[in-house]
Symmetry: C2
Subunit: 107 residues, 2 copies
Amino acid sequence: MHENAPKKPDPADQYPQDVLDTDAFALVCKALGHPVRIKILNYLRKMDRCICGRIVEILPLAQSTVSQHLKVLKGAGLIRGEVEGLNTCYCLDTEVLDRFKKTVESL
Amino acid sequence: MHENAPKKPDPADQYPQDVLDTDAFALVCKALGHPVRIKILNYLRKMDRCICGRIVEILPLAQSTVSQHLKVLKGAGLIRGEVEGLNTCYCLDTEVLDRFKKTVESL
DNA sequence: ATCGTTTATCGTAAATGAACGATAAAGAAC
DNA sequence: GTTCTTTATCGTTCATTTACGATAAACGAT
């Protein structure tokens, strides 16, 4: 673990973006560590994409709480949201999700 | 593997214990949602089985803190620990882990 | 029986999380 | 322009998590 010669200890080279490091992996797991967020994710998977308001409708929670959960999922990179006029449209980030799956496979 | 004569919507039949329900899945994710616990899991994967004291050694944390993390992992079913005289020997619960993997695959 | 070792648990303090209502920001509709 | 709608953020409260040291419980060794 001493980089005298510039070999390739670079993690980005070893695993060309298909496995998450410990901290990133833990972050994603933490984001998945709440039933409501799993439900949101499942819904987005079924719907492909949908606006925030729809997610608020299907959950028995205040709008601000749902917004908070969406923020956590976004912070972990699991979903993306883009503003479309008055609404914000959310969808899964399949790339991050796939990377997560690969990491789990390797457990 | 597929339901040829499906008549039961009973979830326990549909998925003969190979996929976790939302709450159980969130619980496992939550347990994985801390870098230290990922490290413990990785270590146990490499070592197959090892005693608590060894895990305490490799982590820069107080013994009581490590014990707490082990408890979380055990509570999620990810590891098992059996007392062997003075020591407690921990190992992965591969069955729960495999179920978790299957659930993640299906994401 | 006494002493050291190992691990779990207790008690506690600080940080984070989850929920809510209220409010702000931004765009649509009038 | 004003007003309504949608969503994010603020402020607050309560619960949980994380960390630690201290202690207890269980066992081995002396």
